[in-house]
């Protein structure tokens, strides 16, 4: 799992770049280039259409640019805010288009997830995991994806959902508990 500690220097530099971009939109390029790939991958794990993913990624950065003045630094990488926008875009898309969301099972950090649900990481359990995930409520599945797909810290998840870090932990653990329960039913 990704370390919770984020080097202060990189955050400080990022904050400088954000402040620059607030004054001059052309400076947003640094943030765009830095996070384009991770936002693209984030969406690509959930949508099976490369062109659509490209459009949506572009929309995420456009939304970020238009709302940048409202962005406040909360001690987590800028990407957390972008994930939040991306998640909004995805939710909106699935709600509006009634499209089918995909879960890229290969992208899950299964060893850690199985460790957390006290199960063995093997092919049989991966099959069971798929069925269990299907039975989860969307918010639970979303938060597990953030934790185990994106390997985000609790602090970053908290930022995405506008909740406290403790609440983020509680939500993740609740989702894991539900997943465990689903596992036991299989």
């Amino acid at each position: 799992m990704k370390t919770e500690a984020i080097p202060f220097e990189s955050l400080e530099k990022e904050m400088e770049k954000i402040n620059e971009a607030k004054k001059n939109p052309e400076s947003f390029e640094y943030l765009y280039e830095t996070y384009y790939e991770c936002i693209f991958r984030f969406i690509y794990k959930r949508i099976d259409d490369e062109n659509l993913v490209e459009d949506m990624t572009s929309q995420v950065f456009f939304n970020a640019m238009t709302k940048l003045n409202k962005y406040t630094f909360k001690g987590v990488p800028f990407s957390a805010w972008l994930y939040k926008i991306a998640l909004n875009e995805l939710n909106m898309y699935f709600r509006k288009k009634s499209s089918i969301r995909i879960i890229d099972i290969d992208a899950i950090n299964t060893p850690v997830l199985f460790e957390d649900v006290n199960e063995t990481n093997n092919e049989e359990n991966i099959e069971k995991l798929m069925i269990a995930m299907l039975n989860l409520r969307k918010p639970d599945a979303d938060i597990l994806e953030l934790r185990y797909f994106e390997q985000l810290s609790f602090k970053e998840i908290a930022e995405i959902y506008s909740i406290t870090e403790n609440n983020a932990k509680v939500k993740v653990y609740r989702a894991i508990e539900t997943l465990k329960h689903e596992f036991q039913l299989k």
């Binding site: 765009y32 280039e33 998640l87 890229d104 995930m133 299907l134």
Partner: protein, 616 residues
């Protein structure tokens, strides 16, 4: 819809992903958005700063549409339209158009209207020419409807119904302070961006004197994404076509006494000259004095090239390595000069005609070019407006934007509605009595999600049905001294017996009402009772998890959160000391609740209404 699992998907490399980056495109899109945003913003004084279209068309003389200002002193009250709050109304957006041209107007909401040319007549029925002021406003939600004072009751077959509105607009045209009418046969197309996409709405026009609505037909819904005009016009098509090069003939000169030389000229190469054998080239001494050492040289080669000066040529001679150059002009002697002048006059006449023709073509091309550029601009603007409106809607969590397309053949107030409730279904069996301290002027029964406003003037007592159980319902009112109040569901629920007289104490919002936003805040529950001096500054919003509520306070203190059901019974109590607190609502049954946050230290409280729609 359940997700599906995918395994062994194509793995994209970093290079493949990053090759899709296009920051320039993003930046351009942002700049367009920023420009539209800035031009659409209201300034503090209520005026829109920029003459949007005039600026963008980049041609002051040709400007056909000009956004002038947003008008806050709006529709005069009539016997049918009576604004309940003094000085508060839905503002008009005003454009100046040239009535002799077709105009397309764009609005902040994303809506647009298309006005045909020569569409307006004055009170004598005479077609109006020149500039006309177009006043347009939209009533997008229940707060706008309340503020406007427009009646939403529809009488038909001796029965009174209330409208739920998918969109209501008012469109007026004014010239020299006189209201204009739409010419018979002229139709204005309106593409209204609506949050309601159902197709079972009708189109109604209001008689502002009698207050009667007349059904005039149905509108058409158009999916938001598909409304873009798709045109294949390109800049290439629009570029001014290359015109043939016409050379002005040179007026012949009479040969003087300066040094001259004879050169045979190819008239196809120099059509401005005359291929007379007697034509000489006379040296321009201002460029170079003639060198008499050149007199007896038999040159191997000679060439002529136009100089920058009209009618002047560079004449080059060469023999082996020796070269010389003069600047010279053609001259004629004797009878040849007369012939040359005669020919010149003929050529010049032809030349003048051709030039006039070219100028005419060029002007036509320029007009065509500007028209295409303008159409391209308008298309782009439509797209940008739609993007901005979509974005804005996304921010407001509105997902079902639709264009509702309709035509009006008369100016005034037009409503896209369907009837929902009869008056008897709302004002029926329970008499509500107010305390002596509150004199209600008007009471509104609202259904927020359906854009429905039922106005009740309780001079002879307020009667409410005990059967009101709509999830999105709300009852608010305005006192005779311009204050907003709310009658909560709890007050109604407890009065269940038919014929019972219920004495209630409405909750008064202790603020002077100075803007529509305050009505919106009350209705949306975002700043309810915040103005109370003892209140606590707090806010709530649904979390991204549908089952949670995020409570936000602004001071780091200890707080108590109490949740009461519609009967006032505390169903949950907890403490927290963080500025942002996430509360899980899963255990609550569906229904209406009051969420009360109190600070332990100074006993200040904030109260919010929460509706849980279903058990999750």
């Amino acid at each position: 819809m359940k997700p599906i699992f995918k395994r062994n998907r194509i793995r994209l490399s970093s290079e493949e992903i990053n090759s899709k980056q296009d920051f320039i495109k993003l930046l351009n899109r942002y700049k367009s958005w920023q420009f539209i945003r800035k031009t659409m913003q209201y300034s503090a004084g209520g005026f829109i700063i920029l003459a949007l279209v005039a600026l963008l068309l980049n041609n002051k003389e040709k400007t056909k549409v000009k956004l002038i200002k947003s008008d806050f002193t709006t529709h005069p009250s009539t016997s049918a339209i009576s604004r309940p709050l003094k000085g508060i109304d839905v503002p008009f957006t005003n454009y100046i158009i040239n009535s002799q041209d077709k105009s397309t107007l764009y609005f902040q909401s994303g809506s647009r209207i298309e006005i045909p040319k020569n569409a307006f007549v004055d009170s004598l029925g005479k077609v109006v020419k020149g500039e006309v002021e177009i006043k347009y406003r939209e009533f997008r939600d229940v707060a706008d409807i309340i503020a406007s004072g427009i009646p939403m009751e529809y009488d038909t077959l001796n029965q009174s119904y209330f409208f739920q509105s998918a969109g209501m607009i008012q469109l007026e045209a004014v010239k020299d302070n006189s209201k204009l009418k739409l010419k018979k046969g002229s139709k204005i197309n309106i593409n209204y961006v609506s949050n309601y996409s159902d197709t079972d709405y009708n189109q109604y026009m209001l008689d502002t004197i009698s207050g009667k609505w007349t059904c005039i037909g149905k509108d058409k819904t158009i999916a938001f994404e598909n409304n873009k005009k798709k045109k294949n016009k390109t800049i290439i098509e629009a570029e001014i076509q290359e015109q043939p090069v016409i050379t002005e003939p040179i007026k012949p000169r009479v040969a003087g006494n300066k040094q001259s030389f004879r050169i045979v000229v190819d008239s196809t190469e120099f059509p401005e000259m005359f291929s007379f054998n007697s034509m000489l080239f006379e040296n321009d001494e201002s460029y170079r004095q003639y060198d008499h050492r050149d007199d007896n040289v038999i040159w191997d080669d000679a060439s002529i090239k136009k100089s920058d000066l009209k009618g002047m040529y560079f004449v080059k001679f060469s023999k082996g390595v020796r070269k010389t150059e003069y600047r010279a002009y053609p001259v004629f002697k004797g009878e040849d000069y007369k012939k040359a002048i005669k020919q010149y006059n003929k050529l010049f006449e032809v030349y003048s005609k051709k030039i006039a023709e070219i100028e005419k073509n060029r002007e036509q091309e320029r007009i065509r070019f500007e028209k295409i550029k303008r159409e391209e601009y308008l298309d782009k603007q439509t797209e940008t407006n739609m993007t901005a409106a979509k974005y804005s809607a996304q921010m407001d969590n509105v997902y079902n934007l639709t264009y509702r397309a309709f035509q009006v053949e008369t100016l005034g107030i037009c409503n896209i509605d369907k009837v929902l409730l009869e008056r008897d279904q709302i004002t029926n069996n329970i008499k509500i009595e107010f305390p002596d301290t509150i004199t209600p002027n008007v009471v509104y029964f609202l259904m927020k999600g359906r854009n429905m406003v039922v106005s009740v003037y309780p001079q002879n007592g307020l009667y409410i049905s005990s059967k009101l159980k709509y999830v999105d319902q709300m009852i608010i009112g305005i006192t005779t001294d311009n204050k907003l109040f709310e009658i909560t569901d709890k007050m109604i629920d407890s009065a269940s017996k038919i014929g019972e007289i219920k004495h209630i104490k409405p909750i008064i919002l202790n603020q002077e009402i100075v803007s529509i936003d305050q009505i919106k805040d009350l209705i949306n529950g975002t700043k309810l009772y915040k103005g109370s001096p003892s209140s606590l500054k707090a806010n709530i919003k649904p979390s991204m998890f549908e089952r949670d509520i995020v409570v936000q306070v602004y001071d780091q203190k200890n707080y108590v959160l109490n949740i009461k059901d519609s009967k006032g019974k505390i169903v949950h109590s907890s403490t927290f000391s963080e500025k942002v607190f996430d509360y899980d609502l899963r255990f609550l049954k569906s229904g209406n609740y009051t969420l009360q946050i109190s600070s332990v230290e100074d006993k200040k409280t904030a109260v919010f209404k929460v509706t849980k729609l279903s058990s999750i």
